[in-house]
């Protein structure tokens, strides 16, 4: 058992960038300062990981310590995993006194009543975020520490962030345990997924800047600050300012939450010149449009000022943080006027 744990710790250390290994180990706190000083950090990562493994073996590291290191690693580098957001409902109106100890007990009991071969570890952080690490086994095999799911939950909120990784078959059990432990009634998956956990939190907790209008504190009128080079004359200054103003209204002033993609599934009728008559049958034209970007919302925000799209942008694009979703299904708009539908206008074919 020991060798498995030590090897697991060694492989976790290998994942950390070399310059940050010391800081992570200090946060972990299992190895003393004296022990950490004996590690030579100038050797290769392979060498460092072996030194750490050696020290852990000498200090008899157990499974709990190994799991804690894994939680700390994932807390510092959460963007290596894909996170989905789940929403819970409750019908009662009683005040909920969320007790962390109660929660842990209920969660563990719920999972272990269905599957005994699991490793469950909890860690609470200062911003009231509870991190849960679950290593899954099967009814016949011990938990596989490399097959883990992570759950991040802020107490007394209806949102749960789950990174399920490989085993999706255990997801219903996980969701059920969350519902029971947090005193809610049901849970369903939202159409919101991203690598950046903090941005997902920003979107559902409404922590991003929404540009509310107030009388006080007095809002400074955002005038375009440009390089005042008197030799350059802006012929379309008013147009530029109009675009800037509309953009600010749609996206706000502050930094945008970081999303990787937005996916639009079109189930609309293909509209073409009647005389061409492309499709024999009048069937919805199935099409999937996916916008990918290292930082989707910032790139959408810069489309209009860069001249690549008309301002204001289609509400389908600007509603993403407000509606808290990046998967959309666009169906035919049932309206009185035939031929009216949502249109996204791009000036060029371009990759956002």
């Amino acid at each position: 058992m020991d060798e498995v744990i030590v090897e697991y710790i060694r492989r976790t250390v290998l994942k950390i960038p070399r310059d940050e290994i010391m800081a992570v180990l200090q946060k972990w706190g299992f190895l003393s300062e004296a022990q950490l000083q004996t590690i030579n950090f100038r050797q290769t990562k392979e060498g460092i990981s072996h030194s750490v493994a050696q020290l852990c073996e000498e200090s008899s590291a157990d499974l709990k310590q190994a799991a804690l290191l894994d939680i700390i690693y994932n807390h510092i580098y959460p963007n290596k995993r894909v996170w989905s957001v789940y929403h819970m409902n409750k019908t009662g109106e009683e005040t909920d006194f969320f007790d962390f100890r109660d929660f842990k007990k209920k969660f563990r009991r719920q999972i272990q009543s269905a599957l005994i071969n699991v490793t469950i570890n909890f860690r609470e952080y200062e911003d009231n975020a509870i991190w849960i690490r679950i290593a899954w086994g099967t009814p016949y095999t011990k938990p596989n520490q490399y097959k883990t799911s992570y759950v991040v939950y802020h107490s007394q909120t209806p949102y749960v962030f789950i990174s399920a990784s490989v085993l999706r078959s255990n997801l219903p059990l996980l969701c059920q345990a969350m519902v029971v432990a947090s005193n809610y009634h049901d849970i369903h998956e939202m159409e919101l997924r991203s690598h950046c956990l903090n941005s997902l939190k920003d979107i559902v907790f409404k922590r991003y800047s929404q540009n509310f209008q107030t009388n006080y504190p007095l809002q400074e009128r955002n005038v375009l600050t440009e390089n005042v080079d008197l030799r350059i004359n802006d012929e379309n200054r008013s147009e530029k300012e109009r675009i800037y103003r509309l953009n600010q209204e749609s996206f706000g002033n502050g930094p945008q939450p970081k999303l990787d993609f937005a996916q639009y599934k079109l189930e609309t009728m293909f509209k073409s010149d009647p005389k061409w008559d492309v499709l024999e049958k009048k069937e919805p034209f199935r099409c999937l449009v996916k916008f990918s970007s290292p930082h989707l919302l910032e790139s959408l925000k810069s489309l209009a000022p860069a001249g690549l799209a008309d301002a204001p942008l289609s509400p389908l694009l600007t509603c993403i943080p407000q509606k808290a979703r990046n998967y959309f299904k666009i169906r035919e708009k049932k309206s009185l006027h035939p031929g009216s539908f949502m249109q996204i206008t791009f000036k060029d074919h371009c990759r956002v």
Binding site: F97, F98, R101, N128, H154, T157, P158, N215, Y216, Q322
Partner: protein, 325 residues
């Protein structure tokens, strides 16, 4: 040897000549390039006596003269530049003066009568109006609930405070037509906004805002007390303070002493009323068996927590303990 002797003679001859030249110039005047004295004064080491040495000396002097001349030239240039700038500024000043006079004349022609300096000009009146409006808006903001009309409705700002400290502000953007609805907001997700809206938003907006403001102020107050406790009394607490998002359940441990023996106390503070920043219940538990001894103290502590702000209550308990000892 002979050559040396000759060079020495030559040098002496040269020196002699220079000295006589100096005396011929007229008594008292320092020669322009004192040769023999210069050689000694400057303390430089010349490669040798004789012509080469003399030439070196001359070269060095010429170099220095050149530097001095350059410096002088630069200063003169600078002086010229500054003079030109002065001229420029004078011209500009005259220009502006002329403009001002023209304006005044125009104003005179328009008004017909010179404005009374005692009466405030339109400009100052406007400035005063703007200033008083800003102050009014600030007052509204400080009362806790302020709003601004938007294109489709109203945007309310609820600013919270606890015992004199101003804390966060939260916004609720309402649509008015066709029904009153919340378009967007920045209220934390654990505040039961939907419940409050369902009850009051359609019927009584004032009540809605008042209830929401109570919830937010109470939450912020509880959070502030918990933060203060952690900040100032972390060394008196064993372990960490356990809390949750709403700060309506706080659990922590501390030690009390009685008859020079120490006992651990565990406190569970439950805030049943979300609009209140004081706990509804303060449950103190101690190790089994010690309760009879400490019942009175536990009751007193529980009372303190239920009636005073957390950090103040804890402060008084600590001080009472210390005065006891």
């Amino acid at each position: 040897m002979e050559e040396e002797h000759n060079s020495n003679e030559k040098e002496n001859a040269l020196c002699g000549r220079s000295l006589t030249a100096a005396s011929r110039d007229g008594g008292g005047r320092m020669p322009a390039a004192p040769l023999a004295q210069g050689k000694v004064e400057r303390g430089k080491v010349y490669s040798g006596d004789g012509v080469l040495g003399y030439l070196e000396m001359l070269e060095a002097q010429a170099h220095e003269l050149g530097l001095k001349q350059e410096e002088k030239e630069q200063q003169e240039k600078k002086l010229d530049r500054l003079k030109a700038r002065v001229q420029e500024l004078r011209a500009r000043r005259d220009e502006l003066r002329a403009k001002v006079e023209l304006q005044e004349k125009r104003l005179l022609d328009k008004e017909g009568v010179m404005a009374d300096p005692a009466q405030p000009s339109a400009q100052t009146v406007l400035e005063w109006k703007v200033k008083s409006l800003k102050a009014m808006l600030q007052v509204f903001y400080l009362t806790g609930i302020s709003g601004k009309l938007t294109k489709q409705g109203v945007c309310f700002c609820i600013s919270t405070a606890y015992e004199g400290t101003y804390l966060d502000s939260y916004y609720v953007d309402l649509l008015i037509k066709p029904l009153v609805k919340i378009q967007r907001h920045s209220v934390p997700v654990f505040i039961p906004l939907e419940q409050i809206a369902k009850k009051y938003l359609q019927t009584d907006i004032r009540r809605f805002l008042s209830v929401l403001s109570d919830h937010l102020n109470a939450y912020v107050g509880r959070r502030h007390q918990a933060d203060q406790l952690e900040e100032h009394f972390s060394d008196h607490i064993d372990g960490t303070l356990q809390r949750n998002s709403l700060c309506n359940l706080l659990v922590f441990n501390y030690t009390v002493s009685s008859n020079s023996k120490t006992f651990p106390f565990n406190v569970r503070l439950l805030y049943g009323d979300l609009c209140c920043s004081l706990p509804t219940e303060a449950i103190i538990s101690c190790t089994p068996g010690t309760l009879p001894l400490l019942a009175e103290m536990a009751a007193a502590h529980s009372n303190a927590f239920r009636h005073m702000a957390l950090h103040k209550a804890f402060d008084s308990l600590i001080n009472a303990k210390e005065s006891q000892n």
